[in-house]
């Protein structure tokens, strides 16, 4: 076991900054590879060393596996941390690192490959007795086969096109009477959409929650589970708010899910940090969805309730250290909530709102943590995911952390771009969210019905008029003798105007 002296981060944004923090605490030099779009980023400022890897588009920079490994060797880095996204879950990148003699801070290429292939992963999980959504082993030859299988696993069931995707050729049957019609329609739709009318059948998990278990595995055969994260609040399959622990997971269920996650990891010889995602139904049955073979965006909520530093754990594992007794039977203390701050406008269909952050003031005070990759003056680039950062709060219980979240959001100031902050304000005012009564479809339903959108969005507050009027008056006083008032007011506002003004750096 040799401690690392230098680690190259093959990533950008807030996660690069997060990894640099862990490296600094361990006294390891942190190097970042940056694209042309990120030369002026917080990650470059925070790094000990920074090297250009290519132009802005990801494929020419953060996805250049060979170039990144070359860079690591050239600068004498012992290891590469891939962060999340980009190359983090590519088996061939893990393999390339191994072949070239650089430690990949993550699982082996074999484990990533096994878990990345849905069919293979399902086969291995069944063999390891990890519960998966029950389904027909292959396509169904006829309606009778479908009926026999549905009766065995119990209704409701869902019929899916074998060649499918995107919701086409999918039909839910809640009882026997609906099966024949569903079978006929699913086949017809599958045939029309994919030119292949083969369908299979699965148990339909109704209004499930997304619960995931954080695991760590070292190179000495130890695998531990570190409790769950509640990630049911999703907009179009994108997580928006994450919590730990979940209000519906009892200690007994936590133990069972933890054991299943550890079994899943062992089934593929998993090492380093990973996350086992499950669907949890209303009666406490859970089903394996997939294993994410990397550090998750939402890892801070687990850190807040366990007191552990998962990035430091990743580095120690990669250096060959054994997981110590502090990782055994970890107790969860208090409650943590993370919200993902995005440069997108919830009042305009969540359209990205790139541009320059003119001013930024992040919340502080008790129980507040900011993991962000920006500063006042940063540009939110069009080239990457529009995440600004993550705001995480901790409280002794969920009520306290909700109060802190509300308070922290009231302190947050991001000027110059639109953000999804109004979504969180609307959520905090929603009784179902406050009572943690939701499932993975809840947020989409709420947004579609307009219930959340409506929260406070209609009336223009008096203060906005006062502020604009004062700014206008002060400007006209400064410009006395300039253009007569009202001479150039015939244009109409369009969203583009704001973007244009911001790009030109227009000021008050």
């Amino acid at each position: 076991m040799t401690p690392f002296r230098k680690v190259l981060i093959a990533n950008r944004g807030e996660i690069a900054v997060r990894i640099l923090r862990a490296l600094r605490e361990l006294g390891i030099r942190g190097a970042v590879a940056y694209s042309d779009a990120d030369r002026e980023s917080l990650a470059v400022l925070a790094a000990d060393e920074a090297y250009r890897i290519g132009p802005a588009p990801s494929r020419d920079s953060y996805l250049r596996a060979e170039a990144l490994v070359d860079l690591a060797l050239e600068i004498g880095a012992d290891a590469i941390h891939p962060g999340y996204g980009f190359l983090s879950e590519r088996a061939e990148f893990s393999r390339l690192c191994r072949e070239r003699g650089v430690v990949f801070i993550g699982p082996s290429p074999e484990a990533i490959a096994a878990l990345g292939d849905k069919v293979e992963a399902r086969r291995r999980m069944i063999a390891a007795r990890v519960p998966v959504v029950p389904g027909s082993p292959g396509t169904l030859p006829d309606l009778e086969a479908a009926r026999a299988f549905a009766e065995r696993i119990g209704y409701p069931v869902i019929l899916k096109a074998s060649a499918g995707g995107g919701g086409k050729g999918m039909r839910v049957a809640r009882r026997d009477a609906e099966l024949a019609e569903g079978y006929r329609l699913a086949r017809a739709e599958a045939g029309a959409s994919f030119g292949d009318d083969a369908v299979f059948l699965e148990k339909y998990v109704e209004r499930p929650r997304h619960i995931e278990i954080q695991i760590l595995g070292d190179h000495h055969g130890k695998v531990v589970a570190l409790g769950e994260r509640e990630c049911s609040l999703q907009r179009r399959h994108q997580k928006v708010v994450e919590e730990a622990p979940s209000t519906v997971v009892t200690p007994a269920l936590r133990r069972r899910m933890g054991e299943a996650a550890v079994a899943a990891a062992r089934a593929v010889g998993y090492t380093n940090a990973g996350t086992c995602e499950f669907l949890l139904d209303a009666v406490g049955s859970f089903y394996f969805l997939e294993m994410n073979t990397r550090l998750q965006v939402e890892h801070p909520v687990t850190e807040m309730v366990t007191g552990l530093d998962l990035v430091i754990a990743q580095l120690e594992i990669a250096q060959g250290e054994a997981l110590g007794p502090e990782f055994d039977d970890v107790e969860l203390r208090g409650h943590a909530i993370e919200v993902r701050l995005y440069a997108e406008d919830p009042f305009r269909g969540f359209a990205p709102s790139p541009g320059k952050i003119q001013r930024l003031r992040l919340p502080q005070g008790p129980g507040v943590r900011n993991d962000s990759g920006v500063f006042g003056g940063s540009e939110i680039s069009i080239h990457y995911d529009p995440m600004i950062g993550k705001l995480i709060v901790w409280g002794r219980d969920r009520d306290e952390s909700l109060r802190r979240l509300g308070r922290a959001i009231s302190e947050l100031r991001i000027v110059g771009i639109r953000t999804n902050v109004p979504l969180f304000q609307a959520l905090l005012a929603d009784p179902e969210f406050r009572a943690a009564r939701f499932d993975i479809h809840w947020l989409d339903r709420k947004l579609e019905s307009g219930e959340l959108r409506a929260a406070g969005s209609d009336e223009t507050p008096k203060i906005a008029l006062i502020a604009a009027a004062i700014a206008h008056y002060a400007r006209s006083q400064r410009q006395a003798g300039g253009l007569p008032q009202g001479a150039a007011h015939r244009g109409r506002w369009r969203s583009a105007a704001r973007q244009d003004a911001l790009r030109r750096g227009g000021g008050t």
């Binding site: 305009r348 269909g349 969540f350 359209a351 990205p352 709102s353 790139p354 003119q358 001013r359 069009i382 080239h383 995911d385 529009p386 959001i409 009231s410 100031r413 000027v415 110059g416 639109r418 953000t419 902050v421 109004p422 304000q425 969005s457 223009t460 507050p461 008096k462 203060i463 906005a464 008029l465 006062i466 502020a467 604009a468 009027a469 004062i470 700014a471 206008h472 008056y473 002060a474 400007r475 006209s476 006083q477 253009l483 008032q485 009202g486 150039a488 007011h489 244009g491 109409r492 506002w493 369009r494 969203s495 583009a496 105007a497 704001r498 973007q499 244009d500 003004a501 227009g506 008050t508």
Partner: protein, 167 residues
């Protein structure tokens, strides 16, 4: 100074004056005394009868301001009352008329959901644009009839390029 504010077609009469170092803003007949400090080029600290407010005000163009307050953004248009009256009598104040929906950023057109002659409602998706690795619906900001579609699926667009004209 007498002003008319226009926000999303709603109008309000305002007056602003400076009196003994403070601003006095009258809205709908109610007068507010406001102690104001500019904190840098963007941010105003406002004490409105003792209530502390922080607002970021960005001038978009003459008479049009974006105001950020408590995490939300508002676009406030201010005109003098005579201009407003003239526009009202011509019938085009606060009414959109012909508007061109533009791409807000560079990207690729994935899908065009409307054709010339279609009647659209505010909020209805017009075009699906892929940018920043995400697909986004460009929605109509107001109802009307599609006069022209400038793009087709598969085309690359630059920020500011016209997509659809709504009459």
């Amino acid at each position: 100074m007498q002003l008319v504010s226009r926000v999303d077609g709603k109008t309000e009469r305002l007056s602003v004056e400076r009196r003994q170092g403070k601003y006095v803003v009258e809205i709908g007949g109610v007068s507010h005394e406001v102690d104001t400090r500019a904190l840098g080029p963007w941010v105003l600290s406002l004490l409105v009868e003792g209530e502390s407010h922080e607002a970021a005000v960005v001038r978009l163009r003459d008479g049009v301001y974006s105001v950020d307050w408590r995490g939300r953004s508002f676009v406030v248009e201010l005109v003098d009352p005579l201009t407003h009256l003239a526009e009202v009598s011509r019938g085009d104040a606060g009414k959109p008329g012909k508007r061109i929906v533009k791409a807000y950023m560079p990207g690729r057109v994935v899908e065009v959901r409307v054709a010339a002659g279609d009647r659209v409602e505010a909020g209805q998706p017009l075009v699906v644009l892929e940018a920043m690795k995400m697909q986004n619906e460009i929605q109509a900001e107001s109802s009307g009839v599609v006069a022209r579609v400038f793009v087709a699926a598969g085309e690359a667009v630059e920020g500011g390029d016209p997509l659809v004209e709504i009459d």
